[in-house]
Structures are given as structure tokens and as C-alpha cells.
């Protein structure tokens, strides 16, 4: 098959379709992607480009419509609902943009929840959760409810919860999406810390600055991977950098169409590594700064 041995994620021509007929959306368009153990991958791309869809497929929350997906060497298509649940529980940690803590449980109970589903006895799992909270610097907030914490703190709790089962893979869909730059950096530094212990991390971001933390950046557009580049730790990825400094001028046309100029600031089709070139004749205007028909929606 030619897949790497140590690959934790192997996607081959994976597609995800939503809806039928005219209302059909191609959320993932024959995406091929291999992620090895201990990679720190940032996923970028305009809204609607399929980033979340990709995360959900990789995280075994969603099933692709077509293509082959191997998780940790096992074909995902053959996994039943309960097997998927157990893999999520034991090997995947999720961090969401909207935190997704349970509001009626305390911080400590939230963090301990994955352990509860694993069958860890109450005393032990609370101790483990407490230890995790200490690691994210929130040991003094154990008995708070999520509603009593700041967004940054809640996200730290969510990270503690994602880590409590010592997962191989952490999937974070815009973990800093609701946070300011200081809190974002804190979260990213925490993830970097975790990464050092050997986990693979996959995160989605709209902020080019945050690609500094990644070892690899994947750009998506229209459900396909446009570019896939390795970056040095601590440096903003080249393409992302370009995006940062070439944010196109807003044109009158854009304003009229209600489209943000930022939408154009994404590299176009060629220059792809690892991604199969989309065969469909997608209009591929090279220059990102040029106007294009609105967003990624098809």
C-alpha cells in the first residue's frame, strides 16, 4: 500500500459528501494525507474548506463517503460504533473551539469523564484528573463549574480532559478560535509541552501566527489539500507568512458581495505535496490576491 509504518493517520482519496442532487456539498474532495507519530500539524484554510470535516473523519466521529482511512493501521471502515468509541476514548483527545465541557459537572468531574467511560474507579480517576489539572495550571479550580471560568481557563480544562487518557493523537479544531492572542499563546505553549511527550497533534487554526508551533502545515481549499509544507519550529510557515503580509486590499466588488478579502489569501491549487491534484477543472487562479468567486462553498 505504500503507507508509512509508523503512520497514525493514513487517508487515501477520502471524500465526504453532504446532501443529494443540487444541494450536494463536497466537503472533502479525494483527500490523501499521512500523519506520522509525533507530528505537530496545523491545518489552515478558509471557512468551509472542509477542515472540521477532515478532523471529524480523522477523529472517528464521522465516516467518509468514499476512500480509505486507516487509523493506527486499522481500517476505519470496518470499525463498529463501539470500537470507534473505544478508540476515541483510549487514543484520541479532542479539543473543541467551543470547549464542550459539561456545564453541570465540576471542572474535576469533566476532566475525569473519559476515565469514567474507561471504567476507572471513582477515587482513582479523580486523582488522575486532579493531576492533569495541575499540569495545565488549574489545580485551584477543581471544584469550579465551567461557567465560573474564563474562556482560556475553560480551554485549559478541555486540554486536561483531552490528555487524561494519555491519547496518542490530539485533535484540536480551532482551539484558540474564541480566545485572545495571549490566551491563544498560552494554549499553544501547553500543546507544545504535550507534544514533547510524544503525542501527535493535529490542530486547525485561522491564525497564521500559530503555525510557529507546528512542524507541518496543511492548507485546504474546497475540500482538497492545496499545500502541505514542513516548517521549522518557532517560524511562521512560509505560505502562512505570505498570507499574513499579502492580505489583499478590499475591493469595492468584495464589499458589495459581502466577501472578506481574506478569503482570497490562500494559495491555489498547484504546489501540492501529498495531496492528489483534484482532477475536476476547478478554476485555479494563481494569484491569491486576485478576486475570485465567493469562498469555498460549492
Amino acid at each position: 500500500m505504500g503507507f508509512g509504518v509508523s503512520a497514525i493517520i493514513e487517508l487515501r482519496e477520502v471524500s465526504k459528501l453532504y446532501g443529494f442532487g443540487d444541494a450536494m456539498t463536497l466537503a472533502l474532495d479525494e483527500v490523501s494525507l499521512t500523519i506520522d507519530q509525533n507530528e505537530f500539524v496545523a491545518v489552515m484554510g478558509p471557512s468551509g474548506s472542509g477542515k472540521s470535516t477532515l478532523m471529524n473523519v480523522i477523529g472517528l466521529l464521522d465516516r467518509p463517503t468514499h476512500g480509505e482511512f486507516k487509523f493506527n493501521g486499522r481500517s476505519a471502515a470496518r470499525l463498529g460504533a463501539d470500537q470507534r468509541a473505544k478508540i476515541r476514548r483510549d487514543t484520541i483527545g479532542f479539543i473543541f473551539q467551543s470547549y464542550n465541557l459539561l456545564p453541570r459537572l465540576t471542572v474535576l468531574e469533566n476532566v475525569a469523564l473519559p476515565l469514567a467511560y474507561k471504567g476507572v474507579p471513582a477515587g482513582k480517576r479523580l486523582a488522575m484528573a486532579s493531576h492533569m489539572l495541575e499540569r495545565v495550571g488549574l489545580q485551584d479550580r477543581e471544584y469550579f463549574y465551567p461557567g465560573q471560568l474564563s474562556g482560556g481557563q475553560v480551554q485549559c480544562v478541555a486540554i486536561a480532559r483531552a490528555l487524561v487518557n494519555d491519547p496518542k493523537l490530539i485533535i484540536a479544531d480551532e482551539p484558540t478560535g474564541n480566545l485572545d492572542s495571549v490566551a491563544s499563546r498560552l494554549i499553544m505553549e501547553l500543546l507544545t509541552e504535550i507534544h514533547k511527550t510524544g503525542n501527535s497533534i493535529l490542530f486547525v487554526t485561522h491564525n497564521p501566527e500559530l503555525t510557529r508551533y507546528a512542524s507541518r502545515v496543511v492548507y485546504m481549499r474546497d475540500g482538497a489539500i492545496m499545500q502541505d509544507e514542513a516548517t521549522k519550529f518557532g517560524e511562521v510557515a512560509a505560505t502562512a507568512l505570505k498570507q499574513m503580509y499579502t492580505i489583499p486590499e478590499r475591493t469595492v466588488d468584495d464589499d458589495l458581495a459581502g466577501v472578506s478579502a481574506l478569503m482570497h489569501a490562500v494559495p491555489q491549487k498547484p504546489a501540492v505535496r501529498g495531496a492528489t491534484a483534484a482532477k475536476s477543472g476547478k478554476k485555479a487562479k494563481r494569484k491569491p490576491a486576485k478576486r475570485k468567486k465567493s469562498g469555498a462553498k460549492k
Binding site: L61, D82, A85, N100, R104, E109, L113, A122, N165
Partner: protein, 415 residues
Amino acid sequence: MIALPLSRGEVKMAIASVRSTKWRSLFTMLGVIIGVVSVVTVVSIGQGIKNQVGSQIGELSRDIITIRPGKLVNVSSDGSISSVNLLADAGNGGSLAAQDISTIADTKGVQTAVPLAITNGAVSVGSHATNSTPVLAATADLPTVLSQPLLGGNFFPADTTQQPYVAVLGSFAAKTLFHQSQPLGRTFQFMGRTFFVQGVFHQFDTNPLSLSTDFNNAVFIPYQTAQSLTNNNIRPYEVLVKPATSGQANAMVGSISTALAKAHQNQQQFTVLSQMQGLAVTNNILNLLTRMIAGIAAISLLVGGIGIMDVMLVSVTERMHEIGIRKALGATNHQILEQFMVEATVLSLTGGIIGIIVSFLVEYLLRVFTTLTPDITWQIMGLAVGVSLVVGILFGSIPALKAARKDPINALRNE
């Protein structure tokens, strides 16, 4: 791997979830509470009556035989009651004529036979008249046959020609008519005559569902007097017999039946019962009634179950996002199912327990304000809790299955 031990945390979480929606939970439980209260109360009243009837059959009165017109029960050859005709024409089955009474009295082994007849009419004390106090005509041997002592005064003598207008009161009748426990010497008006109270009975052990009139509420007047007041148009509804020797009740039942059948050439039917058989009849009727009413009350438990299902369905829909989060964190379908089943069970069980507490309250009120003595036994409580548990599990399973089967990503998308 399916057998996940029910952790304390899960139960705690379920309780927390039920508590966080206190009001809705209470209204959900209301159906179960009402169901349990009605079932427990009905059954406990029935049980209380049975207890009373049982204790009423004392050593002394065990020998009494009652004869009533109509075929009330079917007695099989071995003397046991095979069935009870609840709809027996109690009134239309004919009545006992004067000859029947003498037939009974003349049967060998009968010591005394006392006819009892209801005399219609209002009893008035001063200007106050009431129809709710039955006036029973009886002969002088009534206290002997019933083995019932008097609280005060004397029962009327066998011959009342000298003093026809005398009466003896049941203990409640004394209180309701005269507002005192021993209104000896007081008078009341009945059928245009002034009666003179010359005795009051001790309180009879009540038997609220028995086929006979409640003696505690009754006024007793001499049979002769009633005969002359009604121009001999008096029809006894019952004859009480005391056998000459005790322990002969069952044999006496046979010989009285035979004598009556012979006198009527098998044309008219009578019900001759010893006290023990009578107890069986009462219990039969009581069981039937209790079961019937409890069955009706059980419907409210069913309605309660549907209420639980309804609230759980709403709760599942409302908590779709939570279900999504839990699934993302690795909860299996089975674990989600379990969570909602535990919640439904906590709801219905709490309802059941509240229901039992309320039942005790109702029992207390019934004891204080009525003559009923409901008896909540362990069995009834166990049954009520068990049934509410079953209701919770039964009706909770549909919403719980719905929650468990939800696709994780779709659940997660629900905000």
C-alpha cells in the same frame, strides 16, 4: 464488555441531572406519585377491612349462622364457597316470611333464631329528623346471639306488650342522635310514636363492607312493635341463629338449608352461612373489589410512565449536544443507554418513594377522619416500588435507546 458495572458516579450524575430540573422532574414524577398513592391506599384500605373482619370473628360469635333470602353464594358439596354472586338480587331474591322464621326456629339444634328487619321511616329527635339512621326490628335474643354486651341499660324483654315503644341504640347512633354516649331515658319520634331509649350497645367491631347493616349506626326496636306499626307487613332480610351446642355451626347450616328447601319444595332459594363462611364471602368480595379498584388506579401508574417517557424524550433532544460530547470522549452506545436508563429509574423510583410517603399521610388522615383502618403492609410497599421501577425501566428505554443510537457527529452538531 457490555456488562459495565453501574458506578456510583453514574447514579450521582443521574440524580444531579434530575435535581437540576427539579420542577420538571417533580411534574414528571407526579403521575407515578399519584399512581402509587392510589394503588397503595386502595389496597391498604382493603387490607384494613380484612383485618377488621378477621378480628371480628371472636370465639363467642363463631357459631352464629345467618340466613338470607336469595342465592348469594354457591356452596360446593364440601361446604366451601365456590363462587360469590356479587350481583345477586339481594332485595329481589324474596324475603323471609313468618313461616320461614318458624321453620328455622323449629329446626333441631337451634337454640334461638332472631329475625332482623329494616323498618322504613325517619327518626326525629326534637325537631331534627334523619333518614340515615336505619331502624332494625329484632327480638329479645339479639344480644345473646351476637354475644354483644350493652354499654348501659337493658335490652328489651321478650314480651313488649306492656311497653312497646322502647329502643336500644348502636353506639354511633347514640352519638349522632343525642350527642351523648348513653342517652338512657331520652326519647325520639318514629312512625308517629315516641320511643324511649332503654339501652345502648357496646361498639360492634365494624365490618364496613359486610352484607349486613352497620349495627353501630342502627336503632333497634322490638319486633312485635314493628309488626304492629306496619300491620304485619314486615319482611326480615336476615335471620341470625345460635345453635344449642357450640361447634355445630357447619352441621346446622346443612339442616337449616334442608328444612327451608323442604318447606318451599325447592321453589325458593336461601343463603345459609356460618360466620366462617360469611367471612370467606366478605373476603372474596373484598378481594375482587380491591383488585378492581387497584387495577383502575394502576392505570394512573401507566400514565405516569408515559409522562416519564415524554420528559425523557424531551430531555434526550435537549441534551443531544451533551450526548455528542460524551460520545466524542468515548462513551459507547451502551454507556449512554445506561445513563438515561439510570435517570429514568431514578425518576420513577423517587416518584414511587414519594408516593409511599404520601400514602402514609393519607393513611393517617383516613384513620383520623374515617372509621377505616388502612393497613400499608410491606408487600404493598414492595409492590408499589417494584411497579414504579418497572414503569421507569419500561418507559425510559425508548428515549434511552434513542439517545444511545444517535450518531456522534450529528449529536455534537446539535447546540
